[in-house]
Amino acid sequence: MAETEWEPKIVAFCCNWCSYGGADTAGMGRFQQPSSLRIIRVMCSGRIDPMHVFNAFLEGADAVLVTGCHLGDCHYVNGNYKAQVRYQFLEEMVRELGLEPERLQLNWISASEGEKFANFIRDVTAQIKQLGPSPLKPEGVN
């Protein structure tokens, strides 16, 4: 087990209407995606509570991605604006806590942007591989 390269665990919160569609499109377009990704589908990025992000980190996620529809395209009028406000808050807090900026990222991805989604995940995976495991990862979790 020690021989194989360490794979980070990346949790991506995707909204049902856009970024989850983006992930789907990425799959259909046969873009090669790293095995590090765990997608959690929510109906809207506005549903993502900072607690979900904390919990992901505390349970052992090496990076958490918050994704949703492009601003203005929200299926529920302004859910992604709410997500954005909350994210700014959360980002400041996570920075002050001392986690590296790469470990928490926000991105707006539409259902048609499969390639963007795949590239995003690839980039994040590469960044996290550089950084190594999250310092919040509990003992005994790979």
């Binding site: 607690m51 919990n55 807090m93 002050e96 806590l97």
Partner: protein, 383 residues
């Protein structure tokens, strides 16, 4: 009749109250008058435990209000808890008042029927630290102390033998005594967020020590003063320009010193060491939940995210409880210091919360607990 914005000098007409009160007994008389004339059903008074400690209680007895008073640099208390749904008048330091207003802003309490008389505050001292300071720095038996006073930057203690000993506050604080850490860098010294802002700064000449400087901040403050004047409990006169200037100068000097202390106490921690620092600080937490219990700005109630999503069965590097509290308080922390006072394992909770709240609040130019108009900034940005 007084007007909003008036700056006045006033004192109690009852000579007993005037002499016992630290500066003319104005606040005591205003509170007593509000109760006497039925403006409120109760008044929060400080029940004296000993020279170093007092605890707030609600009373509906005018005599008890008049018998209270006397300045005490007591540690803040959770006044907002007592304001809930009651027709009440209370005194409070700036941080007490901020706590109440932040509760009201977040719909925790209804302020319609609550009157708040704010008191200037240069900082409070923890009773236990004070006792230790008396023994080590003053070489006085804490039980012998009958009074204390602050004059020209010196803290003076009087003993029952009639002796006085003064040491400069700077010297005390360098030695780790004196005011609580968060008081040293507190940014609100004059409670302009209360209905009346009272204090002895700017009281000069023959009135020094026997009158209170009082600024009328809003309609409720005007009602309070008018009522007390009408009832014959107090007398007021306009403050002259010199008084006003001195009050402002004291405030500015205090704030400047506060800035210096902030630099010293909230020292920068390098990026790569911060997480380890915070984890280590919280590692001895015994899950008592007292920091939340005493927090004057927490409005979540019994079932809140910090408790419901925190389980003792988890073995996280940092508990959900602390993560959620750090986030919530970066919006609302007023730096009152009660969490640090109460922490059974001496975690510097307030300092940690300020490390998160300070940059966030500064960035948005937001001071929680200062007025009811400006919503919490999370809400504001949503429009």
């Amino acid at each position: 009749m007084v007007e909003i914005g008036d700056k006045l000098l006033g004192y109690a007409t009852n000579p007993d109250v005037r002499n016992r009160g630290a500066s003319g007994g104005l606040v005591t008389a205003v509170l007593a008058a509000a109760l006497e004339k039925g403006m409120v059903e109760g008044v929060v008074v400080l029940k004296r435990i000993d020279e170093y400690e007092a605890i707030p209680v609600i009373t509906d007895d005018v005599q008890e209000v008049l018998a209270s008073g006397g300045s005490m640099h007591a540690v803040p208390v959770n006044l907002a808890k007592y304001a809930v749904g009651r027709k009440i008048a209370m005194p409070g330091k700036p941080c007490d008042v901020r706590g109440v207003i932040e509760q009201a802003k977040r719909n925790g309490v209804e302020l319609e029927d609550t009157y708040i008389v704010g008191l200037n505050c240069g900082g409070a001292m923890h009773p236990v630290v004070t006792r230790e300071m008396l023994i080590r720095m003053y070489e006085i038996d804490p039980e012998d102390v009958v009074g204390e006073e602050i004059e020209k930057g010196k803290l003076i203690f009087k003993t029952k033998d009639g002796e006085e000993k003064a040491i400069s506050i700077d010297e005390l604080e360098e030695a780790g005594y004196g005011r609580r850490e968060n008081c040293r860098y507190c940014t609100i010294k004059i409670p302009t967020n209360a209905d009346l802002a009272c204090g002895n700064w700017g009281v000069i000449g023959e009135l020094a020590g026997s009158a209170t400087f009082c600024e009328v901040m809003n309609e409720k403050g005007k009602r309070l003063l008018d009522n007390a004047i009408e009832a014959g409990f107090i007398e007021v006169q306009p403050a002259d320009e010199k008084s006003i200037a001195i009050r402002e100068k004291v405030n500015k000097t205090m704030l400047k010193l506060g800035d210096e202390w902030k630099g010293r106490l909230l020292t920068e921690i390098p990026d790569q060491e911060r997480l380890a620092y915070y984890i280590e600080q919280f590692a001895d937490c015994i899950d008592c939940g007292a920091c939340r219990e005493v927090c004057p700005v927490c409005t979540c109630g019994e079932d809140s995210k910090c408790t419901m999503f925190h389980s003792l069965a988890d073995n996280y590097k940092m508990s959900m409880y602390h993560m959620v509290r750090l986030l919530h308080l970066s919006d609302s922390c007023i730096g009152c210091g009660q969490c640090s006072d109460i922490c059974p394992v001496d975690i510097p909770v307030t300092t940690i919360f300020r490390r998160f709240a300070d940059p966030a609040q500064k960035k948005r130019d937001y001071s929680p607990g200062m007025d009811l108009q400006r919503p919490p900034f999370l809400e504001l940005m949503l429009k």
